[in-house]
Amino acid sequence: MSSTATGDANHPGLQFFRELPHAVALGIKADLMKDGRAEMSMPWNEKLVGDPESGVIHGGAVSALMDTCCGAAAMSHPGANGGTATIALRIDYMRPATPGQTIRARAECFHITRSVAFVRATALDDDDDRPVATATGTFTVEGK
């Protein structure tokens, strides 16, 4: 995967992210991946619940969504050239996601060097103004 998509076309790596076994198991849908940006969504599902009393999705599932989305953003940056792996990822949980609503993640690779991609992401439910969580991460960049 050496070509980088620009313009309207998604990065060719999008299909790779759509087929990741764990992302498939979580029900993650990869909606966009190009120019250092990625958008993914994860519909509410009973099996992802962390608090059975309220039906709120477990933070771990949100982490998995954020990690996947951040990785896709890093890989699709014009300065990247191949695969990527997470070096570190920090998630801040602002509030519980509303039960029954899809969680959407948007990630942006805001800086890249020859070795490291710096990415930030936000997770939202149906309320666009109050994020569920934010993330910042560092990812490996494969040598050219």
Partner: protein, 173 residues
């Protein structure tokens, strides 16, 4: 020889173990996402070790193949929350109050809420079972700080570590 004050006879070991294990099982199996990931807990006294049983659905990169970083993060977060809950509930379970019975009856206690969680990926997660242990570095009335290490074949070669902060549930009834 001075007369020793008589202490009550200790409970039979099977009774103690049964109560502890039943409470732990109820705590873990009450959470759908923990069942989804296939995580169980090994208990030695009050010490817990999380066990992530390998399944193909945990794979992130099928080409390597490697565990998904999100699955690793979730495993460590689950281990932190269960270990923190267990340490919070332990005195009540030990005192033989009704807590163990209410847990087994399906009434879940309020669990700590994650404030932030930072994962440090040290090595590729291999397609096999993983283990994790949490160390509670601080546990106050409202906030707790927990460090987690996860390893696979070799305890001294962690493949990931994490630190998280948690908001403790109010315990005033």
């Amino acid at each position: 020889m001075a007369e020793q004050p008589r202490r009550p006879r200790p409970e039979p070991v099977q009774v103690v173990k049964q109560r502890r294990d039943a409470a732990l099982t109820a705590l873990v199996e009450g959470v759908p996402y923990i069942r989804f990931l296939g995580i169980s807990f090994d208990r030695r006294g009050d010490e817990l070790t999380g066990v992530l049983a390998y399944q193909d659905a945990l794979i992130g990169n099928p080409m390597l193949p490697a565990l998904h970083g999100g699955a690793t993060a979730a495993f460590m977060e689950v281990t932190a929350i269960i270990s923190l809950s267990w340490s919070m509930l332990w005195p009540e379970i030990e005192s033989g109050t009704t807590l163990a019975e209410t847990l087994v009856a399906g009434q879940m206690p309020r669990l700590p809420k994650t404030i932030d969680f930072t994962v440090d990926y040290l090595r590729t997660g291999l397609p096999r079972d993983a283990y994790a242990r949490a160390k509670i570095n601080r546990s106050g009335r409202r906030y707790a700080s927990v460090h987690v290490e996860a390893w696979q074949d070799n305890r001294d070669r962690a493949f990931a570590q994490a630190t998280g902060h948690f908001l403790m549930p109010r315990r005033d009834g």
